[in-house]
């Protein structure tokens, strides 16, 4: 039963506007510690140095895309257990299938509401308090 206020979430997307919108939506759920990264590489840097409880990542990014990030996370001795939710666009079934194979915990279709975000997070982490 994770406490929303204590959760540390990493949002990965190359578009600042999308990152910030996602952060705003997370805040609506009571989450306060939100890290941002604009690509997989920067995300790995943050994840290996900071305690992170959840990663929300887009797929299409420069430098290291969402799937490669997922694989890197799953292969990292310390970070591999961190729950990972992939943000996808509509029609991206193939991507979700691939992500499932690589160890993703859940997926979210953009654009999403706060309710759907909560639902998906709770599916992975349990009821948010």
């Amino acid at each position: 039963m994770p406490n929303a206020v204590a959760l540390k979430v990493l949002v990965v997307d190359d578009q600042e506007s999308v990152r910030k919108m996602t952060a705003m939506t997370l805040e609506q759920l009571g989450i306060r510690h939100i890290h941002e990264a604009e690509n997989g590489k920067k995300a790995m840097e943050i994840a290996s140095l900071q305690p992170i409880d959840l990663i929300l990542s887009d797929y299409y990014m420069d430098e290291m895309d969402g799937l490669d990030l997922l694989r890197a996370v799953r292969g990292h001795p310390v970070v591999r257990r961190v729950p990972f939710i992939l943000l996808t666009g509509r029609g991206d079934r193939e991507l979700v299938v691939k992500a499932a194979q690589a160890g993703v915990n859940n997926y979210l279709i953009k654009p999403f509401t706060a309710q759907v975000l909560r639902q998906k997070i709770e599916q992975v982490m349990g009821k948010l308090s």
Binding site: S17, K20, G75, R93
Partner: protein, 746 residues
């Protein structure tokens, strides 16, 4: 946290960058400079626009972007060949998308049917099978994705995992506890080519228990001869697991091109190699959804030991090269290198302007301080002077730093030109390419804003009148496609922009004829070719009359010239019949600060822009011949330079009468003619902060702006070109008028 509205603005800024990337990328592809990275970057940019548009509620933008994105996806997957025709459709789509973004940004409604033609073209390229799904699913149907619960605890308690299916099967038929297997896995050389990825197989092994592997690199050649599609590595290792041998072998069931040996340690004889059986090649990479449930993902609870596999496995290139990021295979043809990304931040321009103002005041205060120190008696001021010098130095650096913050690359204006050329060329039925150079040349924001209009007019003229129709060009022995070259560079403290085309040049006969018709030149005046060319810049000479009527807005070169001169710039033009035309204009680097010469006329102090000054002298009386009234002529190295007494022009009692000493400032009137302005004193050369007085006083002929000098007094900055005009206008009423308005200001 930023508000929704602010984020919307951020999104539109991102769109602007994205559109630029899209257009540049597609142009590169058209030139044959594109690579895998290029199409990927274009795809990503369109995807980003689509994504953001969805979030911020611009549904029609999403619709068009989706079709565009799908087409780009087809291209980058290789399903659709990127021929010139296809790229042209993509470029048109880029234009439509850009317009849709602009309309959305302005908050206006998108006109019915906007972009439909282009959308249909895209759909045709796609063969009409996709591009449907306007409905936004909030979830995928038929996808057996079961979210994996991630528990914070480390326990192996299986009871939390309801509804989750793991493969390989862990639940049933376990034998008695843990076993050890020795595994030797050796892919055939062409395994990768057949779509199998050893990495995934090894991962599946790892899921079963504790795996220790080491790679055998015997077959690995040196880097030069290494082919990434060939599998060179093999592995041996041990797996401690509760799984059965069958379960292990299941992993390799459908993988044909390998040899695999599984030996149970301590459990009897080794079983022989089993690999290479399946007739059907089910590539492990691809999970076919209708078959196995898709929920085959790593359970986070499994005790996975850290093994060395990730590092060793890295050398293998994944089977499909194009989508992975990082380390693209070297392109076979030249590709445009990615521009290095600087760390940037967004600041409101107002904030910068405010700071620039503050520094301007600082410069003035410091100049005043300098004045006071200068006037102090010797000895007292030494230390003070030293410190003041330091202050001056720091202030200058501060000012330079700020000005560079305001500086923008002209590329931001240039980037609109390719589209302008594209669209206008199509309209007039010509084939034209635009070459850009010097896009990174920087200039102050105040100038950037003044560049667009003149540049647009000049380029439009070039397309419309300069470059000939394709058949005309061929008949003239030229290439069918005309070229317009747009360049920018810093030269002599200014920014020089040049537009040159390889068209037909200015039709001097027609120009002369028109000029005669309009009474701009005398019927029998004889003019040089250069002079005829420059006629088109005279007021009243509209381009609509020259050659064609297509650009028919009638905005002529004279307006362009005026716009440029208003900013303190100069325009020049050269044209060669049959070869082409070159138009150059030079602008100051900034309007905010200026190099000025401080002069005194009578008791008044003025500032003249250094850029207008050719030279200053104190000529001996003998060289000055006085003609009518207070006009004179100066003999200067064999030439005669007309003189104008500023005291009279500015209606001030001047000490510079015919007998005393005077200072002559030779200026260039812009068209090469010289004028000597006579003042009383030269006070020195300094940088002045330009302050506009137009808001308070309206435009005053002869006065460009004002500044505050070191002694705290206001000095007017003279508009030298206007003064020359006024000087040549012998009407005394004009001068009196000028005198009146100046009296108001002074």
């Amino acid at each position: 946290m930023a508000s929704f509205e602010q984020l919307k603005l951020t999104f539109f800024d991102e769109c602007a960058e994205g559109m630029q990337q899209i257009e540049q990328g597609l142009s590169d592809m058209r030139e044959g400079l594109g690579s895998d990275d290029t199409i990927n970057a274009v795809f990503r940019a369109v995807h980003s626009v689509k994504g953001g548009a969805g979030i911020f509620g611009f549904e029609s933008l999403v619709g068009f972007a989706h079709v565009f994105e799908t087409t780009l996806d087809a291209v980058r997957r290789g399903d659709l060949a990127a021929t010139t025709d296809v790229i042209d459709v993509l470029l048109a789509s880029s234009d439509v998308l850009s317009d849709l973004v602009q309309i959305s940004r302005a908050g206006e409604a998108i006109p019915v049917g906007f972009g439909d033609e282009t959308r249909v073209a895209l759909e045709n390229l796609l063969g009409n099978d996709s591009a449907g799904n306007e409905e936004a699913p909030s979830d995928f149907d038929g996808l057996d994705f079961v979210p994996v619960r991630a528990d914070a605890s480390d326990s192996d308690d299986m009871s939390d995992f309801d509804g989750i299916e793991f493969t390989p099967v862990m639940a049933d038929a376990f034998a008695d506890g843990q076993r050890s297997f020795e595994i030797a896995f050796s892919p055939n050389a062409d395994m990768l080519l057949n779509g199998s990825d050893p990495l995934l197989l090894l991962r599946q092994l790892r899921q079963l228990g504790e795996l220790e592997l080491s790679a055998v690199t015997d077959r690995l050649p040196d880097l030069q001869s290494l082919r990434p599609e060939i599998a060179y590595l093999s592995w041996t290792g041990t797996l401690r697991t509760e799984a059965t041998r069958e379960q292990l072998q299941d992993i390799f069931d459908f993988v044909g091109d390998c040899e695999i040996t599984i030996t149970e340690v301590g459990a009897g004889a080794a079983e022989p190699a089993m690999g290479g059986c399946a007739a059907s090649q089910l590539p492990v990479v691809d999970a076919a959804p209708p078959m196995a449930p898709v929920a085959a993902f790593a359970p986070l609870q499994a005790a996975m030991t850290v093994d060395s596999t990730p590092q060793i496995v890295k050398p293998i290139a994944p089977p499909q090269g194009s989508r992975t990021s990082g380390g693209a295979a070297p392109a076979e043809k030249a590709t445009r290198p990615a521009k290095p990304q600087a760390t940037t931040t967004r600041i409101e321009l107002e904030k910068i302007d405010r700071v620039v103002n503050m520094v301007g005041e600082l410069v003035i205060a410091q100049a005043m301080l300098g004045q006071i120190v200068h006037d102090l008696p010797e000895g007292v001021s030494d230390r003070l002077t030293q410190i003041l010098d330091e202050v001056v130095h720091h202030t200058r650096e501060l000012k330079d730093g700020l000005m560079s913050m305001r500086a923008q690359a002209v590329g931001s204006v240039f980037q609109r030109m390719p589209r302008l050329v594209r669209e206008t060329a199509i309209k007039v039925g010509k084939k034209i390419r635009l070459e850009l150079a010097g896009e990174t040349t920087e200039v102050d924001r105040s100038i950037i804003e003044r560049l667009t209009d003149p540049l647009t007019h000049i380029i439009r003229n070039s397309v419309d009148h300069g470059i000939e129709a394709p058949d005309v060009r061929i008949a003239a022995g030229k290439s069918e496609e005309g070229t317009i070259r747009l360049s920018a560079e810093h030269r002599g403290g200014r920014i020089v922009i040049e537009v040159s085309d390889d068209g037909g040049g200015i039709n001097t006969e027609k120009v002369l004829q028109k000029a005669r018709e309009k009474g701009l030149v005398g019927a029998d005046a004889v003019l040089t070719e250069d002079e005829i060319n420059n006629l088109i810049m005279m007021p009243g000479f509209s381009t609509a009359d020259v050659v064609s009527d297509i650009s028919g807005r009638g905005v002529g070169m004279d307006v362009v010239k005026t716009n440029i001169q208003e900013v303190g710039g100069r325009l020049s033009l050269q044209s060669v019949r049959g070869k082409g035309t070159t138009i150059q204009f030079a602008l100051p680097l900034t309007l905010a600060v200026m190099d000025g010469m401080v002069i005194k006329v009578g008791r008044e102090t003025y500032v003249m822009p250094m850029s207008m000054i050719v030279e200053c002298l104190r000529p001996p009386r003998s060289h000055i011949n006085n003609l009518v009234g207070t006009r004179g002529v100066l003999q200067l190295r064999g030439d005669l330079v007309p003189l104008v007494y500023l005291g009279d022009l500015l209606d001030i009692g001047s000490a510079a009468d015919l007998s005393g000493e005077c200072v002559v400032i030779i200026t260039d009137a812009g068209d090469g003619t010289r004028l000597g302005l006579v003042a009383d004193e030269l006070c020195g050369h300094q940088q002045v902060v330009v302050k506009s007085i137009e808001e308070s006083y309206g435009p005053v002929p002869g006065v460009a702006a004002a500044t505050i000098l070191g002694n705290g007094s206001v000095a007017l900055i003279l508009d030298v070109e206007k003064l020359s005009d006024l000087a040549s206008d012998s009407s005394s009423t004009v001068m009196a008028q000028m005198g009146n308005s100046l009296a108001k200001v002074a």
